[in-house]
């Protein structure tokens, strides 16, 4: 059976630090789970026709990844933004407690961690460039355990925000899960401690 090698990969890295910022633990791995949404989104961008897929609330949304020629109206178009601001866990890098294995049709984390427990800072582009035969873009987000108990992260995700307004036709903001991973070993974040999660998207030639 023909099995092509991977050309676009995603890797994750998790760093747990104590209240003083000392590194307690670092784990990394290859993300296993581009979801069907990511493939569908690529296709709709390549063919510039609308596609319907489920947002994080499991609601079907018709997504246009293009704006036809128009004039005389306000237009704003955000295609797939992952740079969520602080305290917004609708999109960006996400963490959760769920342990169910990923499937292509997953539309959300199994059990997203609420911001009231693991406070989310902004998702940012940390770096991008070329290294040997790899090109990459790394996104990062810090979460702080603001609860009074230890929290164990079992799953990670990357969700994007979509918003399109052409005149009175307004779609979104909607939030779509593009990647979901379940960790082989849960990572415990002590009360008052923090965790940094990175997703690195790269091509290998």
């Amino acid at each position: 059976m023909f099995k092509p090698r991977v050309n676009v990969q995603v890797e994750y890295e998790i760093e747990v630090r104590d209240k003083a910022g000392r590194l307690l633990r670092r784990v990394s791995g290859t993300a296993e789970s581009f979801l069907s949404r990511f493939i569908e989104w690529l296709l709709t961008g390549f063919v510039s026709t609308p596609y319907s897929f489920k947002d994080r609330s499991n609601t079907d949304r018709e997504v246009y990844t293009h704006v036809p020629a128009t004039s005389g109206v306000d237009v704003e178009f955000i295609n797939m933004d992952v740079k969520a601001p602080a305290d917004n866990v609708d999109y960006g890098i996400l963490v959760g407690y769920g342990t169910t294995s990923p499937t292509p049709s997953d539309y959300d984390l199994g059990s997203p961690a609420p911001n009231s427990e693991l406070k989310a800072y902004e998702t940012s582009l940390e770096e991008y460039g070329v290294s040997g035969n790899e090109t990459y873009a790394t996104f990062k987000r810090v979460f702080e355990n603001v609860s009074s108990a230890d929290k164990t992260i079992n799953e990670l995700g990357l969700a994007a925000k979509y918003y399109r307004k052409v005149g009175t036709d307004e779609r979104g903001p909607w939030y779509f899960l593009l990647i979901r991973d379940v960790l082989s070993t849960g990572q415990t974040v002590p009360a008052g401690a923090s965790v940094t999660v990175r997703y690195k998207v790269k091509t290998v030639t």
Binding site: N7, Q9, H66, V73, V82
Partner: protein, 205 residues
């Protein structure tokens, strides 16, 4: 290993439609430009540098904003070239220089036309996303036709995307290479024959 994978399949047929040659190969060819596009989209940014087909730097706009009164349009990574347009979509050539991660064009593109050494470019088509167990995939494809009565050798293939953004920052129309493969063996399009080139992009959860 999971992640985004691609393979390329070429099918050459004679004038009677009989298959005379087939080649299926792993595609290793997503390039730096694709990471630049993903980085820009995930960051919802304007004016992201990208390398154009002549090696110069162009502007990729992943965010579109227009106040009423200004013309606007946005196509982010359009591959659906019409027939007789060899400037984007699935393209073929006879270059043999190995792929480099920063390639920005085919080495030697075979031009559209009906003369010797050329191929008639039909329009690019796509197939719907298919979920097969834990694998999600779609295809983009193109037929090329030899009309001069003299066979043509194909040694490289690629994907060139068209991007356009017209908004308050101006009108940007660019084309850039996102994938290139040098074939493991030459595929010959017979005189008066056809060549079908299919790119299949998939990921497995």
């Amino acid at each position: 290993m999971s992640g985004l994978k691609a393979y390329v399949k070429l099918t050459a047929r004679d004038r009677e439609g009989r298959v005379v040659q087939q080649l299926t190969m792993e595609s290793r060819s997503f390039l730096f430009n694709l990471i630049k596009v993903l980085r820009a989209l995930f960051s919802a940014q304007h004016s992201n540098p990208i390398v154009l087909l002549d090696g110069s730097e162009g502007r990729f706009d992943a965010y579109c904003f227009v106040d009423g009164g200004t013309m606007s349009t946005n196509w982010w990574c359009h591959l659906m070239a019409p027939k007789e347009d060899d400037s984007f979509g699935v393209v073929v050539g006879n270059g043999t220089t190995p792929v480099a991660i920063d390639d920005y064009n085919l080495e030697s593109k075979i031009l559209h036309g009906e003369g010797m050494g050329r191929l008639y470019y039909w329009d690019v088509k796509s197939e719907e996303v298919v979920v097969d167990g834990n694998t999600i995939k779609f295809k983009v494809k193109r037929v090329f036709e030899e009309r001069a009565g003299s066979s043509v050798d194909v040694k490289e293939v690629g994907l060139i995307a068209f991007h356009r953004c017209t908004d308050d920052n101006g009108d940007t129309q660019i084309k850039f290479l996102i994938a290139r493969d040098v074939l493991t063996s030459t595929v010959t399009v017979p005189a008066q024959g056809t060549l079908l080139v299919e790119y299949e992009i998939s990921c497995t959860v």
